[in-house]
Amino acid sequence: MKNLTSKSGSGINRRTFLGYAAGVSAMSALPVRYSHAAGELNILVWCDHADALLLKPFEEAHGVKVNVKSYEGTGTALSIIEQSSPGDWDVLVVDAPDTRVFAEQGILEPLDDANFPIGDLFEPLTSAAFNSIGGVRYAVPEKFGYYGVAYNKDKVDAADMRTAEVMWNEQYKGRVAVYDYYFPAMQLIAISMGIAPDNISMDHLPAIREKLLAMKPNVKLVGDIVSVQNALVNGDVDIVLNGAEFTVSNLMPSMPALDWTIFDEGGLMWIQGISVFKDSNRKELASHFLNHILSPQGQGTLATSECYWAMPANSLAVLSDDQRKILRWDEQAAFFERSVPSTISQPDIDAAMLDIWTEFLQS
């Protein structure tokens, strides 16, 4: 299996794109204090951690109340933390490659592998370079997925979906939606051209731009998750590029015609990690919470949350056969083999990529 590595940088990562807007709003708002009564755990997480099904067993087992603050985008999380007082927050969930941003600010507590079921987690996740900063672990991978393609298999040839060439396949002209995140979209194009995302340089951008613009005639819309899901469900499009399990898995039980996959040329992974705040006054409880989330039962519930589905990090996660089928559990080994994580680019490349994306939208 490939060793998953990551470049560091100050660019913007998965989920950050929509989140910065909310972050700006949050920054402009008056500071908010989050109550922290005895017997409470305050968690700053993504929406998939808000399910009662996930939290209730922990609350009952420990006799505490878990207060959930859901956010979208690393920028938003940073803004919320800046407005909070030390000790307000106990647990953080963030894009694993973004852990460095928080760790370098001294926000996160170093974690000891011995306290967590690291051995049960899928190896490519735990071996990823971004898991530790300076040899210290600050986050444990808890859930992951891919940027690839989601589609309606009643309307398209599933075999066509397994190749990146589908992005330019004239057969699907006007039948394609693109999940609106420039970074992985262009990384997917780079992969189709044989360029590893980590190796994208300024010299590669003209060729990537050309391929991106060439894709536009096939594209009917570019939108956020809700928009592309809506278009797929309404039948306005048959394919969602730059989407995958996080786009359609939660719809698949009721709409079996929907499906997703990654390209044979290579997949692009996203990984979310869970951490403990350094200033938490309930580190032991927070640590228990991490173990609850990382437990086989917790992982099964997290993987199939109401907000979005994705693969659990724990290989022992409790999932039904149907759920495993939807998440393509049996194909994960092959997916790992040809996937790399979507990592942060250098700021100048990132800015140039956004310019190209804007041109693409306008073309």
Binding site: G9, Y20, S227, P347, D350, T358, E359
Partner: protein, 290 residues
């Protein structure tokens, strides 16, 4: 003596109004003037290697006005907003006219409630609702296909037309209200005088009703222009990002690159467009009713 009392009264009134306006002035100073000044300053800054660098460079302005696809966002915004305003006026005026002069006061109230209904619905919900109507498998295509009028579904969603449709739905009602409010203020004695002088109904409309209702049209049109040109949600959902308007370009810069200098340039440009439109309509916006 009475002069003195009167002057004291005036002084007290002046003192009261002076103090009464202070909170609003301070609020405006803190939350509008100051951020605006900061935005102007930041527009000259640069984002270099992920960091904001303070400078007095016009590079962001040069890039915005010198890059085709960025400048196009401005022309797109102006075109969409002008089309929205024009269509909304054309639809709203007859509606307001009928409402003001052809409907009994009892029914006017009922219809006015229907007119404000769109304002009760959340913006996002309203936009997604339109998708259900105009999408490929939406109501319109369903009806037209089943009536045998079309073979292939019409492509309405995720187009500029869809964005304008979403805007017009909302702003027609807004304009109806402003025009209606203006029309009902016109004194019937003006028409009688004109008719007594031999004016036809068309002449009465063209030379009395229409000119006197222009302030209502101008107010509604200005509000429509200002709100529509700054709207992000409708073009995002109904337009499907198949073209970029200025608010979307601003969001791209802010939410994805944290490039506040470039976003500031775009925001200031948008604001200048609104100032120009205000200057054009100011005469009518300030016009006092006779």
């Amino acid at each position: 003596m009475s002069d003195l009392k009167g002057r004291n009264k005036k002084l007290k009134y002046f003192e009261f109004t002076r103090w009464a306006t202070q909170p609003a002035l301070i609020f405006t100073l803190i939350f509008f003037v100051t951020p605006l000044a900061i935005m102007v300053v930041i527009s000259f800054w640069q984002r270099v290697y992920g960091k904001l660098v303070a400078s007095w460079s016009g590079a962001n302005y040069i890039k915005f006005f010198g890059t085709d696809y960025l400048l196009e966002s401005l022309t797109n915004s102006i075109e969409v907003t002008l089309a929205t305003t024009a269509i909304s006026i054309l639809l709203a005026y007859p509606l307001a006219y009928i409402l003001a002069y052809r409907i009994s006061p009892k029914w006017q109230k009922v219809i006015l409630i229907f007119a404000v209904l769109p304002f009760w619905t959340a913006y996002v919900v309203r936009s997604y609702s339109w998708l259900l109507v105009i999408s490929e498998n939406g109501i319109i295509n369903f009806v037209l296909t089943h009536l045998g009028i079309i073979d292939q579904p019409l492509q309405m969603a995720y187009t500029r037309g869809a964005t304008i449709l979403g805007f017009v739905h909302f702003f027609t009602m807004l304009l109806t209200l402003t025009i209606y409010a203006n029309l009902v203020q016109i004194k019937p004695s003006y028409w009688k005088a004109a008719e007594d002088l031999g004016a036809s109904k068309l002449q009465v409309f063209l030379r009395i009703t229409l000119p006197l209702s222009i302030p209502g049209v101008a107010v509604g049109a200005f509000i429509t222009f200002v709100i529509a040109i700054g709207d992000y949600i409708t073009p995002q959902i109904l337009g499907g990002s198949t073209e970029v308007l200025v608010p979307q370009a601003i969001m791209l810069q802010v939410s994805r690159a944290a490039n506040f200098p470039m976003a500031s340039v775009m925001s200031i440009t948008l604001m200048l467009v609104i100032v120009v439109v205000y200057a054009i309509t100011a005469k009518h916006l300030k016009m006092n009713r006779v």
